[in-house]
């Protein structure tokens, strides 16, 4: 329950609601507890033929029912206020925390897991708080209360109540332990089922083309049958729990009533005690059972709380210097002996990389998949920090700069073109929220995006749907390039961002970059050598090491790796293989 602490500051904000919810819960618990006692009074009054007191207690009973309803509704109202308030605040705190993470932090959690935490885990927590203020806090009052009443009503047989509680608890704990073990095994099988189903769904063409459907069904049924076995055993235990508990209670009731009858001559007033005693014993039984079930729910919520706490306790891996200047940093870039390993990687992705780039140069980066091209680019934008060595922009070590300054300096066009729901303009303005329409037009023109944007009736106000489903891959890439250009930053990075463009558009984009941005330092990461041929300098990466740098012509002469890449991209007949 350590994780519970993260809720405390938020509860404090809703002190009034918490208190009112507690008052309401106390009142409603008391009213349901007091009712059998009142019943006893009425019976006594009837025996004594005391008309006034029968009427008085009868009215009390009605008042009690009304109080229970009003208190119940108030209780739900305030409990819902607390639950919604606390979870919303916690969710906001968590999201703000996530936005302070470095990209590496986010990757470690994975986007999917963070979303699950913010939605599903928060729902669990919300339900728990609701339960806490509607049920859980009522339980101790009811359990203790009905236990005490059971004993007060007929103190001579106190041991019977204790006996019942002990038997129920003992049996309950025994069953719970069994069930937990079974649930663990069940979950493992359930995961197998869902994995198997998922694989065959994704590979449906493979399964069908190899005629393996019947084989897959056989495999699936084996797992499913095992799951079923667990399900049945769990079901058997469940079947036993409730009847066993009730049987225990009824045995105790019979025993007590029997003893009352046996000794009635000595204690004639006991005859009015039977009904309330039965009532309290049954209340006690139900409360213990419900408490048990709520506890099971709580253990789930506790796991969720733990998962949120994990996010809140994570320290952002990257911290910027808030005191540094927010002015742009300049256009030169320098890597000084940089080594970098991904948080979950075991070998470095970049090894001892050093190079220097002057402002306004166009730099190409080539190398095989996994050679570290994108990683290198991401270090320039400080999405990660190097393990060793320094990355400098405009002579400033990135570890000492202000985040605003860095973001103004570097524009990054990602390998995967991502658009956000909104409009074309709202997406382009992510690069610079104060950009004027003519600036958007200029950027879109260079990125070869104007031709399709201007074909829309609402041109730049055209809607971008969720998952940008209304744009093709090529269009998305062009918009994503345009967004990078809107920023007008001194440094522009294009990470393999023209791969979905046809050859002609790609050429046009490159020409525009060369001629219209002479002062911008441009990094072009590419699979195809043709995309970087005209660069002022090409960096060749191989397995995380910078193995060569120079112009296209120089590298063709000096770098065997560059030659190999170049050769595999030549048509066969040029290679003389045909």
């Amino acid at each position: 329950m350590k994780s519970f602490k993260i809720l405390m500051p938020h509860f404090k904000r809703y002190k009034k609601d918490v208190i009112l919810a507690l008052v309401a819960i106390f009142v409603s618990a008391f009213s349901s507890l007091y009712q059998p006692k009142l019943l006893e009074n009425i019976q006594k009054a009837i025996m004594a033929d005391n008309r006034d007191s029968v009427i008085r207690d009868g009215i009390w009973l009605i008042v009690l029912g009304l109080i229970a309803i009003v208190a119940g509704i108030f209780n739900v109202y305030f409990a819902a206020r607390v639950a919604q308030g606390v979870t919303s605040d916690l969710r906001e705190e968590t999201y703000a925390k996530i936005q302070s993470f470095s990209f590496g932090n986010i990757e470690e959690f994975s986007a999917g897991s963070l979303t699950t935490r913010l939605i599903n885990d928060m729902n669990q927590i919300m339900n728990m708080i609701m339960q806490l203020f509607m049920q859980m806090l009522r339980m101790p009052i009811l359990i203790v209360g009905s236990f005490i009443f059971c004993i007060i009503i007929i103190p001579r047989y106190w041991w019977a109540t204790v006996l019942m509680v002990a038997l129920i608890m003992g049996f309950g704990v025994f069953v719970l332990k069994r069930m937990n073990a079974l649930f663990g095994k069940y979950q493992v099988k359930m995961d197998e089922i869902s994995n198997h189903a998922q694989e065959t769904l994704q590979g449906v063409r493979v399964v069908k083309s190899f005629n393996q459907g019947p084989q897959e069904v056989k495999k699936f049924n084996q797992t499913s049958d095992k799951l079923n076995d667990y399900n049945i055993v769990i079901g058997y235990w469940f079947s036993a729990v409730m009847p066993a508990f009730q049987l225990i209670a009824y045995l105790v009731i019979t025993l007590v009533v029997f003893l009352i009858g046996k000794n009635i001559a000595a204690h004639p007033s006991d005859v009015t005690v039977v009904s309330p005693f039965v009532n309290y014993i049954l209340t006690l039984l139900w409360t213990i059972m419900i408490a048990g079930m709520t506890m099971m729910q709580f253990s789930r919520a506790n796991i969720s709380l733990g998962r949120i706490k994990e996010v809140l306790d994570t320290k952002p891996a990257i911290k910027f210097n808030e005191n540094a200047s927010t002015e742009k940093l300049g256009g030169s870039v320098e890597f000084d002996d940089v080594t970098f390993t991904y948080p979950d990687g075991d070998a470095p992705t970049l090894k001892d990389i050093s190079f220097k780039v002057n402002a306004g140069e166009m730099i190409g980066i080539v190398g095989a998949t996994g050679s570290g091209k994108s990683t290198l680019a991401q270090l320039i934008a400080r999405l990660y920090d190097p393990d060793k060595g320094e990355v400098k922009i405009g002579g400033h070590n990135l570890k000492n700069v202000n985040e605003t300054a860095l973001r103004k300096t570097v524009a990054f066009v990602l390998q995967k073109a991502i658009l956000f729901s909104g409009t074309v303009a709202s997406n382009l303005r992510q690069g610079n929220n104060r950009a004027k329409l003519h600036e958007l037009q200029r950027a879109a023109g260079m990125a070869q995006a104007s031709e399709f944007i201007e074909r829309y009736n609402d041109s730049y106000d055209h809607e971008v749907e969720e998952r940008s489903a209304n744009f093709s891959g090529g269009q998305k890439q062009r918009l994503s390039i345009a967004r990078g250009l809107v920023a007008k930053s001194p440094i522009l990075i294009l990470d393999d961002s023209t791969s979905a463009l046809d050859a002609e558009s790609e050429k046009k984009v490159q020409k525009a970059l060369e001629h219209e941005l002479p002062d911008t330092t441009t990094f072009i990461i590419a699979e195809k050598i043709v995309s970087v041929k005209n660069a002022d300098k090409i960096l060749v990466l191989d397995d995380g090491k910078l193995v060569a740098e120079g112009t296209h012509e120089e590298l063709l002469k000096t770098s065997p790796i560059y030659q190999e890449i170049y050769n595999t991209q030549k048509p066969r007949e040029v290679r003389g293989e045909n």
Binding site: L64, I73, A80, I193, G203, V278, G370
Partner: protein, 589 residues
């Protein structure tokens, strides 16, 4: 309404085989409920007996035996009730589990028989939730709700009958408030439904926002938009908050309201009982007994009402789940052509004759395509994205059927060949390689589970992947993790090529990978493909031109029409569309 009918029909279908068990459960529930209803009367009687005994004591002629026998009967009925319910639940948990298992296994095997179209048009996540969420909801409801309703129903009616038998006046008092309670709860449930739906919608929107933002986090960070992202989050979060508050409030008050009304009802019953005693309608002894009995009854009477309102949402979920499963079962199966021709090996060739096809009725993709692949030849299809290349593979393997025209295998229409036999003779290598969990060896022998290790190794060698596999610490026994992430895209493609080589199909369709494979790995894949094609009849769907220069024939597809045909040199000479594609892709000027 028809949806609910569909769901109920589905349940009926899967519960039918267990009718014996169901009968046992119903009989036992009747016994148990009956006993549970009768038992409190004996508690009342024992109180009456005790009161009478006390009165008689004063007269000196008292017998306590009536008390003992009443008490004994009470215990006997409770024990009977509990034992009956225990057995009923045992039987029930068995057939509930079994019938859910039937549903699960039938669902999976249905999936294996359905058209690929269904999987292409439905998200995997949604189909998976049939296994994880919908079946779970159904199982929960069957265990907790459906038979609960039956047994509560029996109890409800039984209680009313017995109450009237014991004392009509008190019975009427007990049920007098029911219509009012029902109206209140129906209004509340409707209201709760509206707000709960709204709550789900708002959560869905928030979920969408978070997913979009976090998946686009690199854009957010590099453009310095993190504070804006938090501000946007607050708007969605606040909407969730207010919608959830209403949803939780309206669905939450039902329970305390029922509890309170129960208390109120109790007060009315007691008041009536007390009045009957005081006004002299019954003796004190009988009156007290009646009050005790009716206090019990009014609680057993109320329980079903409270229970049903609290399992209402569970039932809703189960009905939705059953409807979804029923809709899957309604889907047509692939036509297996059981009486079709059995083929083994290719003698003449495969032909597409004037094939028209569209994934949607109103959007045709292929407009009369004819391609012939002669035995032993390799034919390549090229063309821009969206021209319909991959569609041809879908048609030859009968993942989809042509709208008009035909495809022939040795001059037999493939629709007249046994589906299994056709697919045994056509091997495919897909654009996106899929590996299954299990070892690498398992994956390579996927199409021929009884293949020897030698066959596996030889296939891997031909696919150019043997050396890589051997370099792994566990070699061929290396486990492929769930997502297959330990292997690069290129390596996965090589393993899937080996998988196809092992089955040695007479006709082969290769769909080249389009994903980002670097040019060195691409070269390896190329060599593996060349090895596979050698000596086989093959059909290559090419996305990069340089991989198909050696083909016997190249077919150029554009916008669903064949516009050029010939070998590489012939096509270059034509200086047409192929020439333009080729010079664009390999431009080094």
């Amino acid at each position: 309404m028809t949806d609910t009918k569909k769901a109920i029909k589905y349940f009926a279908k899967y519960l039918k085989p267990y009718w014996k068990g169901i009968t046992v459960v119903i009989v036992l529930s009747l016994i148990s409920s009956g006993a549970a209803v009768i038992a409190p009367t004996f508690l009342g009687r024992s109180v009456t007996a005790l009161t009478t005994y006390l009165g008689d004591l004063k007269k000196g002629s008292a017998h306590i035996d009536t008390f003992y026998s009443a008490l004994g009967s009470m215990l006997a009925f409770y024990v009977l009730s509990m034992v009956a319910i225990f057995i009923a639940w045992m039987v029930m948990s068995k057939f509930n589990a079994d019938s859910t298992n039937d549903m699960r296994e039938n669902l999976f095997s249905k999936f294996q028989r359905m058209f690929v179209r269904y999987f292409d048009t439905h998200q995997d996540g949604k189909l998976l939730s049939l296994f994880t969420s919908d079946l779970d909801n159904i199982f929960n409801a069957m265990n907790n709700a459906i038979f609960e309703i039956i047994s509560q129903g029996i109890r409800f009616i039984g209680t009313i009958i017995i109450m009237f038998m014991v004392n009509a006046q008190l019975a009427l008092t007990t049920i007098a408030t029911t219509p009012f309670i029902l109206i209140v709860s129906i209004i509340l449930m409707k209201k709760a439904r509206i707000y709960l739906d709204k709550q789900q919608d708002e959560i869905g929107d928030l979920n969408g926002y978070i997913t979009e933002q976090i998946n686009g986090e690199k854009v957010i960070i590099t453009n310095g938009l993190r504070q804006e992202s938090v501000d946007g989050f607050k708007i969605y979060n606040n909407r969730v908050r207010s919608a959830m508050f209403k949803g939780q409030f309206y669905s939450g008050i039902l329970f305390p309201l029922m509890n309170g009304l129960n208390l109120l009802n109790l007060a009315i019953v007691i008041a009536m009982g007390a009045w009957m005693i005081i006004s002299g309608q019954v003796t004190t002894a009988i009156g007290l007994g009646l009050i005790v009995t009716f206090v019990e009854y009014s609680q057993t009477y109320f329980e079903p009402i409270t229970q049903v309102t609290s399992i209402y949402s569970m039932i809703q979920l189960a009905l939705t789940g059953a409807r979804r499963l029923a809709e899957v079962e309604e889907q047509p199966d692939e036509k297996a052509v059981p009486n079709g021709e059995e083929i083994s090996g290719l003698n003449k060739g495969v032909k597409l004759e004037n094939v028209h096809f569209g994934y949607n009725k109103n959007k045709e993709i292929l407009h009369g395509v004819s391609v012939a692949v002669d035995k032993g030849k390799s034919v390549a299809v090229v063309g821009p994205t969206g021209s319909g290349k991959t569609t041809i593979m879908n048609l030859i393997n009968r993942f989809y059927d042509v709208d008009s025209g035909k495809i022939t295998f040795d001059e037999t229409d493939i629709r007249d060949i046994k589906l299994g036999s056709l697919r045994n003779n056509v091997g495919i290598v897909l654009q996106d390689s899929v590996l299954f969990s299990g070892t690498i060896a398992d994956n390579i022998r996927y199409g021929k589970p009884d293949a020897t290790m030698d066959e596996v190794i030889s296939a891997a060698k031909q696919a150019n992947i043997h050396d890589f596999i051997e370099s792994l610490p566990e070699g061929y026994e290396t486990q492929v993790s769930d997502s297959g992430s330990v292997f690069s895209t290129g390596q996965k493609q090589l393993i899937s090529i080996a998988r196809t080589i092992l089955t040695n199909p007479p006709f082969l369709i290769l769909d080249e990978a389009t994903s980002n494979v670097d040019t060195v790995t691409e070269e390896k894949i190329q060599k593996a493909m060349d090895a596979v094609i050698a000596g086989r009849t093959s059909f290559v769907i090419a996305h990069r031109l340089k991989t198909i220069l050696n083909s016997d024939k190249i077919v150029v597809l554009k916008d669903g029409n064949v516009i050029e045909e010939g070998n590489h040199h012939e096509l270059l000479k034509q200086k047409g569309f192929y020439y333009k594609l080729y010079t664009d892709q390999t431009a080094f000027e």
